[in-house]
């Protein structure tokens, strides 16, 4: 006999996931993983029939391949952000990669980013030993990088110094601690892996309450994380965490604003106080549903392809590739009005960066095209 509660649950699960679609990078990654895994297996099998020395040599090759092309990478936990459906009426190039090449050329991204296993920072580059990584953010003397690797690296978080392009490891995450990392608004501390660490000294200055599942961000009022029961929590080290009665979909900057999913296709921008009091700054549905937010929360990117200035009410049409990148969490804000985001060639083998001004919607090509192997994480 059909169970009405089960049917209700099934309906809700389908409605919550029917806008989940593949990002441009997932299929290329699947192919890369599959080919690398089969190559590793062939090496091991061929070595198995040979001499012990040959086996040892093959194991070395497997280890090398494993570190460069992991089949199951340990990536940072990112907040789940819905993929948008492009709306009509805004700039929607059929081929974003080709569209980018028609834009006037501008300087390279002014934010650190990772492309093809190399961290590019202001005036330096750093080849990531594990072959892949993501930028956590800029600090006083460099960039905090999360190195991915399989198996998980002992010290995945490092500070890459801007001057020397050398990496200084931060303490390892607490065993069993969840993923996600966030820098404090003053960039002096970082929260990850169950710890709060002073970036300059590497000293652990606080431990998480122990109920965290993933870290969303570190705003002025405190650290926002999701607990094991799925609740959003606001925590200032040294105090008790407070529950935020919202479904956080993004905590993008250093200010005090969050993106909250009200219901399907409806979201709002809320300002959070130190005592977890919420003030709604913006709320809308469908095409006006917010999918991106500037660091201080003054500019909202909407699902329908507009940038809305919350102070002046000014609206400008922005390209749909920017909105799609915002939905994937791949938009970096160079300042409160300027964004940089990646667009990929068909198949995802090459990437170009595009810079747009949200007040006008005008865009330029930020540097030249590059080989693309992993997602470009930019902060």
């Amino acid at each position: 006999m059909p169970d009405p509660v089960g049917e209700l649950l099934g309906r809700r699960m389908r409605s919550e996931t029917d806008d989940v679609s593949l990002g441009p990078q997932l299929v290329p990654h699947i192919y890369a993983d599959a080919v690398a895994a089969r190559r590793r297996r062939r090496i091991v099998v061929s070595a198995g029939g040979g001499l012990v020395a040959l086996v040892l040599a093959a194991a070395g090759a497997v280890a090398t391949l494993g570190s460069r092309q992991p089949a199951t990478t340990s990536a940072p936990t990112a907040p789940a952000i819905r993929t948008t459906t492009p709306a009509t009426g805004s700039v929607q190039p059929a081929r974003p990669y080709q569209w980018a090449s028609t834009l006037p050329t501008d300087v390279s991204p002014q934010v650190p980013y990772v492309s093809h296993g190399v961290l590019f920072g202001p005036g330096f580059s750093y080849a990531i030993p594990s072959g892949d990584g993501g930028v956590v953010g800029r600090v006083r003397d460099g960039v905090v990088l999360h190195q991915f690797g399989t198996p998980a690296m002992a010290t995945p978080y490092v500070v890459v110094s801007a001057g020397s392009a050398r990496a200084r490891p931060l303490p390892p995450p607490v065993p069993g601690a969840p993923g996600g990392a966030a820098l404090s608004p003053d960039r002096a501390r970082i929260a990850y892996g169950g710890r709060v660490v002073e970036v300059a000294t590497g000293r652990t200055v606080a431990r998480f309450p122990g109920d965290e599942k993933s870290v969303f961000g570190w705003l002025r009022p405190g650290i926002v994380y999701l607990d094991a029961r799925g609740r959003a929590r606001l925590w200032r080290p040294g105090t008790q965490p407070r529950t935020l009665p919202i479904r956080v979909s993004g905590a993008p900057g250093d200010g005090a604003v969050l993106l909250d999913t009200v219901r399907r296709s409806c979201g709002r921008v809320v300002e959070v106080s130190r005592t977890a009091i919420l003030t709604t700054q913006y709320q809308a549905c469908d095409d006006a549903d917010p999918v991106g937010l500037s660091p201080r929360g003054t500019v909202v990117l909407t699902r329908g392809g507009q940038a809305v200035d919350l102070h002046s009410g000014h609206r400008a049409a922005v390209p749909i590739p920017l909105i799609e990148a915002a939905a994937r969490g791949q938009v970096a804000w160079e300042d409160e009005r300027t964004v940089v985001f990646p667009v990929y060639s068909r198949g995802g083998s090459r990437v170009r960066f595009v810079r747009c001004t949200t007040s006008t919607g005008a865009c330029t090509l930020a540097g030249h095209s590059m080989r693309s192997y992993r997602s470009e994480f930019m902060r």
Partner: protein, 163 residues
């Protein structure tokens, strides 16, 4: 870079979205974790491609790897401590169901379930598998599947029944 064979590519291009949706539910809405699960499942499927003789068998195989990998993230396939299926199973009236529909917040609900219960409700109510198929996927007995589903739904019934 070399590319996998056409059959596998057709499978990935046609079924990855469905696998990703299941994975998002198994990961309680965590898109990043879901993508990693899909990559793990498709890689293992590719390694077994020679043994998967029929193209239509690829998706059940991948789904099975996906569910077991998701379970491995949380806990092994065994029932939660305590007697299974002992929570309230009282039927809800139309008003209770309407109240439940209003109150149900999917992601916190799924995140709050033990891994086995979450996998069972996703496979049963989202993917439409019967209990025998779920037992096969999760390598456990049918009784464990039935009890896990009952306990997972009991949490919802409680929400709907609370005035």
């Amino acid at each position: 870079m070399a590319e996998p064979e056409p059959g596998f590519r057709r499978f990935v291009e046609s079924r990855s979205t469905a696998l990703l949706r299941t994975a998002v539910l198994l990961c309680s809405g965590d898109r990043g974790a879901a993508e990693r699960l899909v990559r793990t499942a498709t890689t293992k499927t590719y390694l077994a491609w020679g043994r998967i003789r029929r193209p239509e068998a690829a998706e059940p195989y991948a789904r099975s790897v996906l569910a077991r990998a998701a379970l491995g993230r949380t806990q092994p396939a065994r029932p939660a401590p305590g007697a299974p299926g002992t929570l309230t199973t009282a039927a809800l009236g139309p008003e209770d169901l309407a109240r439940l529909e209003d109150r149900l917040e999917l992601w916190p609900y799924l995140a709050g379930l033990p891994g086995l219960q979450r996998a069972v409700v996703v496979l049963r109510y989202h993917d439409g598998l019967c209990d025998d198929e779920i037992a096969q996927v999760l390598t456990c007995s049918r009784r464990v599947v039935t009890a896990a589903a009952a306990d997972a739904l009991a949490v919802l019934r409680q929400q709907g029944g609370d005035a």
